[in-house]
C-alpha cells in the first residue's frame, strides 16, 4: 500500500483540524478528497507532506513510517506535492523551476558546481534532457524560458504539477490543481491527470472542489467534514450518501 493514514489527529490548541482520519491509497489509485471549506483537506496534505506534525496517529508510506520525518526527507521518501497556489519560484524560469524539482536526483555540490566542467556539466546535460521529457509531457514548449511570475495562472498550476512530478515521486499530492482555471484549462488539466493516472500509473491524492470532475476521474472519493471522514467509496456511492449530501453536496 503506497500510503496509509492511520487514526490521524491534528490539533491547534483547542481547535481540532483533523480527528481520527483513516485513509489509504492503493497502487496507481487516484483518490479524491472533497469537503467544505475548513474541513481539513489541506491540513491532511500538510501532515502527509511533513509541513505539520500530527498530534497523534501514523502515516505510513510504502511500509516506512513518515509521521515525524522532516519535509525534505519526505520528498526523499517519494512524496511529490503540487501546492494550492502553485508556489513556483517566481524569479526563475520554467526550466529552472523543473530543474529544482530534480534536486534530489542530482549530485553536484558547491565545489563541483563552482568548477562546472566535468561532472557538473555532464549532470546538467542529463537532467536538462530529463526535464525536456516533462516539458513534452505537459506541452510546455513555449514556456521553457519564461520567468514563472510572468506565466498565466493556469500554466503556473500546470508547472507546479510538472515540478512535483520532476522528482519522480511514488505518491503525488495535488492540492486543488484545477481551482481558478478556466473551463478550457480545466479540461486540459483533466487530460494530463488521466495521462499521469493511466500512463505513469502513479498513486495520487487529489483535493478537488469540482464534483463533476471528481465523479468522472477519481477511483475513490473521501469526503471530509470538520476534520472527520464522513464518507468514502466509489463516486456513484458517495454521491448518494445522505451525510455527504447534507454536509457538502446539498439538495436540489
Amino acid at each position: 500500500m503506497p500510503l496509509e493514514v492511520q487514526n490521524l489527529t491534528l490539533k491547534f490548541g483547542g481547535l481540532t483540524a483533523l480527528n481520527g482520519v483513516n485513509l489509504s491509497v492503493g497502487d496507481g489509485e487516484l483518490i479524491a478528497i472533497v469537503g467544505p471549506n475548513g474541513a481539513g483537506k489541506t491540513a491532511l496534505l500538510n501532515c502527509i507532506n511533513g509541513v505539520y506534525r500530527p498530534t497523534s496517529g501514523r502515516i505510513v508510506l510504502n511500509g516506512q513510517d513518515i509521521t515525524t520525518v522532516p519535509i525534505d526527507k519526505i520528498a526523499l521518501a517519494g512524496v511529490g506535492r503540487a501546492f494550492q497556489h502553485a508556489e513556483l519560484f517566481p524569479h526563475m524560469t520554467v526550466t529552472e523551476n523543473l530543474l529544482v524539482g530534480r534536486h534530489l536526483l542530482m549530485k553536484t555540490g558547491v565545489f563541483s558546481g563552482a568548477f562546472y566542467f566535468g561532472a557538473a556539466k555532464r549532470e546538467e546535460s542529463i537532467e536538462r534532457k530529463a526535464i525536456e521529457g516533462i516539458i513534452d509531457f505537459f506541452e510546455l514548449y513555449q514556456y521553457r524560458d519564461v520567468t514563472a511570475a510572468n506565466l498565466p495562472y493556469g500554466v503556473q498550476k500546470l508547472v507546479g504539477v510538472a515540478r512535483a512530478l520532476a522528482l519522480q515521486p511514488k505518491l503525488l499530492l495535488l492540492d486543488e490543481p484545477s481551482t481558478g482555471l478556466t473551463r478550457e484549462e480545466k479540461e486540459n488539466f483533466a487530460r494530463f491527470l488521466l495521462r499521469i493516472h493511466h500512463e505513469l500509473r502513479l498513486s495520487m491524492l487529489w483535493i478537488e472542489h469540482d464534483m463533476q470532475m471528481v465523479a468522472d476521474l477519481a477511483d475513490r472519493i473521501v469526503v471530509l467534514s470538520y476534520g472527520e471522514v464522513i464518507g468514502e467509496g466509489p463516486p456513484e456511492a458517495v454521491r448518494k450518501m445522505p451525510k455527504v449530501i447534507e454536509a457538502y453536496l446539498g439538495v436540489d
Binding site: 519526505i74 520528498a75 508556489e87 524569479h91 529544482v100 534536486h103 555540490g109 558546481g113 520567468t147
Partner: protein, 358 residues
C-alpha cells in the same frame, strides 16, 4: 525572456550558457582586453582605484550570493572582511606565514565564522537575522579591537604587514596588484556564475523565492543556508585578507558598520540577484567617494573642509541607496539590460516588454 531569434538551440547545455548571444561574447572579450591594456593608458592613482574596486568586488560577490541569491540578509559583511584581515595579521606578524598559506587560512576562518553566523538563519529571517548579524559584527570588532590594543603594541595607526609573495614573485606596486586582482576577480566571478547555474545555485534561489516549496522538493534548508553563509563569508574573508595585503596596514577602525552598509549598498545599487550587478555595484560604490572628492576640487576653497567632503561622501551612499530603491530597484544591471534591449531592437522603438523579474 530572450527573443526568438536567439532561442534556436541545438543541444541541452545551450540553455545553461551564461553568454548567449554572439555580440555579448565580443563585448566580454572587449571588456577583458580593455582591462588588460588599461594600466598603460591611465595614471597610477586610477589603477590604484581599480585595484580597490576589484578586491572589494570579490567581497561584494560573496554578499550577492548570500543576499541576492539565497535571500539571507547580512549586516555583518564588514566583520567577515575584518576576520580575513586579522587572520592575515596574526599569521604574518606572529607566525610569519607566507601568502600562499595565509589566503587559504583566511578562507577557512571565514568559512568557520560563516557557519556559526549561519546557525541563527535557520530560525530567524528578515530584520531579526539582520540584527543578529549586526551583533556578530560588534562581537568580532570587539575582539579585533582588544587584539589590536593588547598584542600589537604601538599600533594606534594600525599594524603593518609585509608585501605578499608567491615563490620568487613579490606582489608589490599598483601594476602588479592590478593584474593579480584582475585574474583573481575573473576566477571568482566564473566560480560564482557556475554556482548559480548548477544545483547549489538553483537550490539557493528556490529558498529565496519560496522556502516551503523548496523544502517540499527535498532541498535541505539547514544545509543550503549554512552553505550560502559559508561561501559568502569565505569570499569576504579572502577579500579582506587581500585588501589588508594591498594596503599593507590593518587597523580595526576600517571595519565600521558604515563599511557593512556600503557592501549592502553595492548589491542594491548593482541589482539584487545578478552577478554582473555585484561587479557593477562594487565598482560604483568604490569610485563614488573619489568622484565626490574630485567634484569638490572645482568648488571654492572655503567650501572644501575635510569634514564637509566626508559628510557628503557618507550622505551620497545613503542617497544612492534610496534613489536606486525608488527609481531602479533592480539596479545598474537592469539599466544595462535596458540599454541592451534598446540596441537589440534598433531601429524599432517598441516599448520594452515588461518581462522584468519581480
Amino acid at each position: 525572456m530572450s527573443r526568438t531569434g536567439y532561442n534556436l538551440r541545438t543541444n541541452y547545455l545551450e540553455s545553461n550558457e551564461v553568454i548567449r548571444r554572439p555580440y555579448q561574447k565580443v563585448l566580454v572579450a572587449m571588456v577583458l582586453a580593455v582591462a588588460v591594456l588599461l594600466p598603460a593608458a591611465t595614471s597610477t592613482f586610477f589603477v590604484h582605484l581599480l585595484n580597490l574596486c576589484f578586491l572589494s568586488a570579490i567581497g561584494a560577490l560573496g554578499l550577492m550570493l548570500l543576499t541576492g541569491f539565497c535571500g539571507q540578509i547580512s549586516l555583518g559583511h564588514a566583520a567577515f572582511l575584518a576576520v580575513g584581515a586579522f587572520t592575515t595579521v596574526i599569521l604574518t606578524v606572529h607566525v610569519g606565514a607566507p601568502f600562499v598559506v595565509v589566503i587559504p587560512a583566511a578562507a577557512v576562518t571565514g568559512a568557520v565564522l560563516g557557519f556559526i553566523i549561519g546557525l541563527p538563519s535557520l530560525r530567524f529571517r528578515g530584520v531579526y537575522l539582520a540584527i543578529i548579524t549586526l551583533a556578530m559584527h560588534y562581537t568580532v570588532i570587539f575582539l579585533a579591537t582588544s587584539y589590536q590594543a593588547n598584542f600589537a603594541k604601538s599600533a594606534s595607526a594600525g599594524i603593518t604587514i609585509p608585501d605578499p609573495s608567491i615563490g620568487p614573485l613579490v606582489i608589490k606596486g599598483e601594476y602588479t596588484w592590478y593584474y593579480f586582482s584582475l585574474v583573481l576577480l575573473t576566477l571568482v566571478t566564473i566560480w560564482c556564475v557556475n554556482l548559480i547555474r548548477t544545483r547549489p545555485g538553483r537550490a539557493w534561489m528556490a529558498i529565496r523565492d519560496r522556502d516551503i516549496a523548496a523544502e517540499a522538493l527535498g532541498i535541505n534548508l539547514t544545509r543550503y543556508k549554512l552553505m550560502a553563509f559559508m561561501v559568502s563569508s569565505t569570499l569576504a574573508s579572502v577579500s579582506g585578507s587581500l585588501l589588508a595585503y594591498y594596503s599593507n596596514v590593518v587597523t580595526v577602525e576600517t571595519y565600521t558598520i558604515d563599511l557593512a552598509v556600503i557592501y549592502v549598498a553595492m548589491i542594491i545599487v548593482g541589482g539584487m540577484g545578478s552577478i554582473l550587478g555585484a561587479l557593477m555595484g562594487a565598482i560604483f560604490m568604490t569610485l563614488l567617494p573619489f568622484g565626490i572628492d574630485g567634484l569638490f576640487s572645482y568648488l571654492p576653497r572655503e567650501w572644501r573642509y575635510g569634514s564637509t567632503v566626508f559628510g557628503v561622501q557618507v550622505g551620497a551612499v545613503g542617497i544612492c541607496i534610496i534613489l536606486f530603491l525608488l527609481i531602479e530597484p533592480k539596479g545598474l544591471a537592469e539599466i544595462w539590460r535596458r540599454i541592451e534591449t534598446y540596441f537589440d531592437r534598433w531601429p524599432f522603438r517598441y516599448r520594452p516588454l515588461d518581462t522584468t523579474r519581480h
